[in-house]
């Protein structure tokens, strides 16, 4: 499945939570389709359900109702074990927080993803990817010894190392300055372009959204707008 982009299909998906304050409809009947190899930005105000939708697509959360499919495979019908296998083989996840494991070096954090993928020897590729991301001199450093931008680049490397078919990024630039933010988006777009990966980014940043093929706006757990761009915007090169 690696290396071949996969489309995403979301049909009437609902995610409701019971809380002491009442029922929360985090995602309330969203349907959408993302074509393989395209990039989509999901925007909307805080609490509109963007991250929950991403969690549902990645299989980290199960929908209350509806169906999510990746590459035609019904994610919501998979067992927990199968969902885990899907994530380690077909998905790359990037979060606002880098979520690097603090006791692993940059290289090991990336290498762990490969190990999860089943590779027993892939350090050379990890080194290559990290070098491509401008981290050749930082590979043996622990996350605490890296800057925020460097950490997020390691997180991107971790998401790309196993050549996923879909990259899901939740506010990947939310905690970065403008330069670092641009660099991270460049990396993701370059990867998407190079490997034809499907890319979904949750973002508040309209500048980021403008660089993707399509923008979906959510409001109160519902899809409010679906704006496709006729032409692909100009993209900056990786590492710039």
């Amino acid at each position: 499945m690696n290396g071949l982009a996969a489309g995403i299909s979301v049909d009437s998906v609902r995610k409701h939570y019971a809380t002491p304050a009442g029922l929360v409809r985090a995602v309330d009947g969203i349907s959408l389709r993302v074509e393989p190899g395209t990039s989509v930005a999901i925007t909307g105000p805080s609490g509109c359900g963007k991250s929950t939708l991403l969690g549902l697509i990645s299989g980290l959360e199960t929908p209350t109702a509806g169906r999510v499919a990746i590459g035609g495979q019904d994610v919501s019908a998979l067992s927990e074990r199968q969902r885990a296998r899907l994530r380690r083989q077909a998905l790359g996840l990037v979060f606002q927080a880098d979520n690097l494991l603090p006791f692993l070096t940059a290289l090991e954090n990336v290498g762990l993803q490969l190990t999860l993928h089943g590779a027993t020897n892939g350090y050379e590729r990890c080194l290559e990817v990290l070098a491509e991301l401008g981290l050749a001199g930082e590979v043996d450093k622990l996350p605490d010894q890296l800057s925020g931008g460097q950490r997020q680049r390691v997180a991107v490397a971790r998401a790309l190392i196993h050549r996923p078919r879909v990259i899901l990024a939740d506010e990947p630039t939310g905690s970065l300055d403008a330069d670092s933010s641009g660099a991270v988006i460049d990396l993701l777009l370059a990867a998407q372009e190079k490997a034809g990966t499907t890319l979904v980014i949750v973002t508040h940043d309209l500048g980021v959204a403008d660089r993707l093929d399509r923008t979906l706006s959510l409001r109160d757990g519902k899809l409010a707008e679906d704006a496709a761009r006729p032409e692909r915007p100009e993209r900056r090169r990786v590492g710039a």
Binding site: L60, A84, R87, R88, Q96, A97, L101, T115, D170, S175
Partner: protein, 1037 residues
């Protein structure tokens, strides 16, 4: 503020529970120990008093006296001016039927009066002063005047004049000081003393005292060999003649009537005397009494077994009070016969000019205290018995003295109880320290979450003062609630283990005090453990918070090498104890008024070693963990091992904190398990030493048959594997050394069968092994083993030739030469101790005696069931045809053991084990909870990366297992070291040196249950993970 803290506690139940549970368990253990001591103190009083044969003895100082007294009066005006004179008159009155010999009158004028020289007269005739001093108080010793013999029905009058050195306002208030003594009544009696009470009067007065269950008169006198006859037979050995009634026998059931009964004007014979004289009820015996030409003839109305009658044969000699000096040939007559026939005979013998009684009669009232009314606490019981003793002493002062055995025993038991309390408090102290540790541990786990909340509060305007107050309230809430819950838990667990009845037998004030101490100490320590780190945390800014990876600073204890220092202190304490002789065998017994002495530093040593040992373990583990190999590039390694090895190596502190908690708890559990096993082994070894083997069979005095050593073959019943005959009597020999000689207890044994049967061990012998000693005694029939104290007293040593008078005081008495072949400290089978051990074959040949005193038997199965089977077989076999007394290790109660051995150590260890397990589980639980709190985002990230739940479960379980296994290993090692020090504390409680005895089953149970707790905690953790919201967690900054 208070409301905020309250809401915080209520709305974070898991966090509150994590903080409270450790405090509650630790305080529960400590207060449980305190309650346990209160509850078990009742058995200490009982244990102390069980071997006591006689509670109190009021002994008449003048058993032969009667009608002999001194009257003194002072004639003067009501008041005296300085220089004024008074006449003092002393009248020696003998209204008795016998003369009083060598009468000494002593008197000095009461201050401020002084003797006027040359004024003393005797029956009107002047007496010469002695060197200017009154003849009634002369010389440095102020000796009195010997007026010689005072015939019956006569009076002597002495007078002298005294002068007032200063004014005396009331002459009547002056205390007269005259005393009188005689050859018959050697204890000086004060002037104007009330008339001498008879034994019956004294008994009646004492019986009225509240708390006295019974007061019985007992008279006895030892008669020389040949004093007892019947028909043509005479007893060629000394005879003891008793005077007491049926009431006495009923109060002291060790006096067993085998045939007939008590009867007025008749006598009961001891079984041995009856057999020797062939005198049965219906017959008569004759007693030769000194001072009487005609023997006393009394009809025989019964036969008694006195072989175990401790009240009758315990020595009245103050330095041998615990010695059972049995005389087999005894006669019991009624108190009236003793008073009317025996006392006058001795009075006559004593009054005869020049007659000196070697063994005068003893008359006493034996007092039985109502033990059911005694307080369970030995100290309180002591106050009760002392009050009774004071009441008894107030009756007829000066006419007698009181031997207060029960108060002496309770005094020792009370001191022992205090030592026991101290010892068990030290055993419970780890509970408090663990409570503090667990509170601090839980606090450190929660610190990051709390610091985040504090930062929020500060953003909303709270200053450091507010935060400090919140910390104080929170600390007080945790400490007080945890301590109260802990005290309740402690009480509940003691009720379960000890039983409510036994626990609540303790005084309510003691239980309340224990509860308050438990709560107070628990609150203080846990509050400090929570507050101090909390304050330190407040001083740090939120920006300094960096999570687990930031805790890389070397802790103070490591910089200061506290682990090495603590271990050195524990070692020094042990060396000090060793050099001070604290670890030596106890010198005496409770009857000698010696309580157990345990220096506090000896009890602190295990605690110090515990902390020092675990800190050293942490140092070692950190060193190992930081050097542990991780898969080298270019490999990450297997998923779980690669992740775990890097986690452990790079954030050792989290790992070692969990390890430290488990290790501390396990060490306490292991040390107490070994302590209890060692205690059991020491108790069993002592029991075997006292009995001599598993069983001791003593032919009853009532048995008409002879019991030669060959009788041993009849005792080889099913369940008995070996039997050995022993000849033994107290003071049955005289050891004649090169410079000195003395009466000693000699035992004659058959070395071959004794070695197979008896509880011999090399530690009992001074200069050779047990096997070598027995072999030497076997090969050298004239060999003699000597106890080390006798060897020192009589200056003999191994290799010396000595002479021994065998069968002393019997017609088989003979002097033989022996060769000292070895020395021993203790010999099995002799609770009172034996001084000499000889070869039975040689002894038989030398004395021509064919009689064994008792037999030792070893059972096939040493366990209680095997013992019970063997005892039953002995009773139903040889015991059914021939009366025998059987003692076993199950029934032996050695009076040389401290009353502390009555403490239910097993119950205490059960209590400790329960809490140890709970605390081990709690520590693991807090560790896992801490992992979940600190690393949940890590775990969710791993899940997001595609790690499967079972892989994550394995990762958590592996880390928890590593903590549990390392903690268990270190805990077992440190706990064993602690146990070694703790077992030393037992040394003064037992006769034999207790050795460290492992308890593999208990330790394995602890290990298995800890492993189960680790597994359960890891599974619970992954279950919790499933309920987390990954999307939210992964977005957190």
């Amino acid at each position: 503020m208070l409301r905020y803290v309250w809401r915080e506690l209520v709305r974070n139940p898991r966090r509150t529970l994590a903080s409270l549970v450790g405090v509650a368990l630790g305080v529960g253990l400590f207060s449980g120990v305190l309650f346990f001591i209160d509850g078990s103190s009742a058995s200490m009083t009982k244990r102390a008093l069980d071997p006591l044969a006689l509670d109190m003895q009021r002994v008449l100082t003048s058993p032969l006296g009667g009608g002999f007294r001194l009257e003194e009066r002072l004639s003067a005006p009501g008041e005296l001016r300085p220089g004024g004179r008074a006449t003092i008159t002393l009248r020696v009155v003998n209204r008795g039927a016998q003369p009083a010999n060598e009468v000494v009158v002593n008197d000095e004028p009461p201050p401020p009066l002084s003797y006027v020289s040359g004024t003393a007269t005797l029956d009107g005739k002047p007496l010469h002063d002695q060197a200017g001093q009154s003849p009634l108080a002369q010389g440095l010793a102020r000796s009195g005047l010997n007026v010689g013999t005072v015939p019956p029905k006569t009076t002597l009058e002495l007078t002298y004049v005294a002068r007032a050195n200063r004014a005396v306002s009331s002459v009547a208030a002056l205390q007269l000081q005259g005393t009188i003594s005689s050859r018959e009544n050697v204890v000086p009696a004060p002037a104007n003393a009330p008339a001498q009470m008879t034994l019956a009067q004294l008994r009646t007065e004492i019986a009225r005292i509240p708390g006295v269950a019974a007061a019985d008169g007992l008279s006895f006198v030892d008669l020389p060999p040949g004093s007892l006859r019947a028909g043509g037979s005479t007893i060629p050995e000394p005879v003891r003649l008793f005077g007491f009634d049926r009431g006495y026998q009923q109060h002291y059931p060790s006096i067993r009537v085998a045939a007939g009964s008590f009867g007025q004007g008749s006598a009961l014979l001891s079984a041995e005397a009856s057999r020797a004289l062939r005198a049965q009820p219906g017959g008569a015996v004759e007693l030769s009494l000194p001072g009487q030409r005609k023997p006393l003839s009394v009809p025989v109305s019964g036969v008694v077994d006195l072989s175990e009658a401790q009240p009758l044969f315990y020595s009245r000699n103050s330095n041998k009070l615990e010695d059972f000096l049995y005389l087999p040939h005894s006669v019991i007559v009624s108190p009236a016969t003793f008073k009317q026939a025996v006392i006058p005979a001795f009075q006559a013998a004593s009054a005869a000019r020049g007659g000196i009684l070697k063994s005068p009669p003893v008359q006493e009232v034996d007092v039985l205290v109502d033990r059911s009314r005694l307080h369970s606490d030995p100290a309180a019981a002591l106050a009760q018995t002392e009050a009774i003793a004071q009441s008894i002493n107030r009756i007829a002062p000066g006419q007698d003295y009181l031997i207060d055995n029960i108060s002496n025993t309770l005094q020792v038991a009370s001191d022992d109880a205090a030592v026991g309390k101290r010892m068990f408090i030290f055993l419970g102290l780890p509970g408090v320290l663990l409570a503090a540790f667990l509170a601090a541990y839980a606090g450190s786990i929660l610190a990051s979450a709390q610091r985040r909340e504090q930062a929020n509060l500060r953003l909303r305007g709270a200053d450091r003062g507010h935060l400090r107050r919140m910390l104080l309230y929170r600390t007080l809430a945790f400490a007080s609630l945890g301590a109260v819950l802990g005290a309740g838990l402690g009480l509940l667990s003691v009720i379960v283990i000890l039983g409510g009845e036994e626990l609540f037998a303790a005084a309510a004030k003691d239980l309340v005090a224990s509860g308050l101490i438990g709560i107070g100490v628990g609150m203080l320590t846990t509050a400090l453990a929570l507050y101090i780190p909390g304050r330190r945390s407040l001083r740090r800014e939120i920006s300094e918070e960096r999570g687990e990876m930031a805790v890389a600073r070397v802790p103070a204890w490591r910089r200061w090498r506290l682990d090495f220092a603590l271990l050195a202190v524990a070692a020094i304490a042990e060396v000090m104890a060793f050099r001070a002789g604290t670890l030596d065998a106890p010198a005496g017994s409770v009857y000698e008024g010696e309580s157990v002495s345990l220096p506090s530093y000896l009890m602190l040593a295990p605690l110090i070693a515990w902390i020092g040992g675990m800190l050293l373990s942490v140092r070692i583990l950190e060193a190992i963990a930081s050097r542990s190999p991780v898969p080298a590039r270019p490999r990450f390694g297997p998923l779980i091992r690669g992740t775990l090895s890097r986690s452990v190596r790079r954030r050792t502190w989290a790992f070692v904190t969990g390890f430290l908690g488990v290790g501390l708890v396990v060490a306490v559990g292991v040390s107490l398990a070994i302590f209890a096993a060692s205690y059991d082994a020491a108790k069993a070894a002592d029991s075997r030493l006292v009995v001599g083997s598993d069983v001791r069979i003593t032919p009853s005095a009532l048995s008409p048959r002879p019991h030669p050593p060959s009788f041993a073959s009849k005792l080889r019943v099913p369940g008995v594997s070996a039997v050995s005959p022993v000849v033994f009597k107290p003071e049955n020999s005289v050891l004649i050394g090169p410079n000195n000689q003395d009466a000693r207890d000699l035992a004659a044994i058959d070395p071959a069968s004794f070695e197979r049967t008896a509880a011999l061990s090399d530690s009992l012998f001074v200069d050779r092994s047990a096997a070598a000693a027995m072999a030497a005694l076997q090969s050298d029939p004239r060999g003699l083993l000597v106890d080390s104290q006798t060897a020192e007293d009589l200056m003999v040593d191994t290799g010396d030739r000595v002479q021994v008078l065998l069968a002393r005081g019997t017609k088989k008495q003979t002097l033989k030469t022996f060769h000292v072949i070895g020395l021993f400290d203790n010999f099995p089978g002799f609770p009172e101790g034996t001084n000499l051990v000889a070869n039975l074959g040689y002894y038989e040949a030398a004395t021509r005696s064919k009689r064994a005193d008792f037999f030792l038997a070893k059972t096939t199965d040493g366990n209680p069931a095997g013992l019970a089977r063997a005892v039953a077989a002995l009773r139903s076999g040889p015991g059914s045809q021939d009366p025998i007394n059987i003692d076993s290790t199950e029934t032996a109660l050695d009076k040389d053991q401290s009353s502390l051995t009555a403490l239910n150590v097993h119950g205490l260890v059960d209590l400790d084990s329960l809490f140890t397990l709970l605390m081990a589980a709690t520590t693991i639980g807090i560790f896992v909870f801490g992992l979940m709190l600190q690393r949940r985002r890590e775990y969710v990230t791993l899940l997001a990366q595609g790690m499967q739940t079972r892989e994550l479960q394995a990762l958590i379980l592996a880390e928890v297992a590593l903590v549990a296994v390392c903690g268990l290993a270190a805990g077992i090692v440190v706990g064993t070291g602690m146990a070694y020090l703790l077992v030393h504390v037992l040394r003064p409680l037992f006769i034999l040196d207790p050795s460290v005895t492992f308890a593999p089953a208990r330790i394995a149970t602890l290990a298995l249950l800890s492993a189960a707790a680790a597994l359960a905690a890891a599974l619970a953790a992954t279950a919790i993970l499933r309920h987390l919201r990954p999307s939210e967690l992964l977005r957190e900054e």
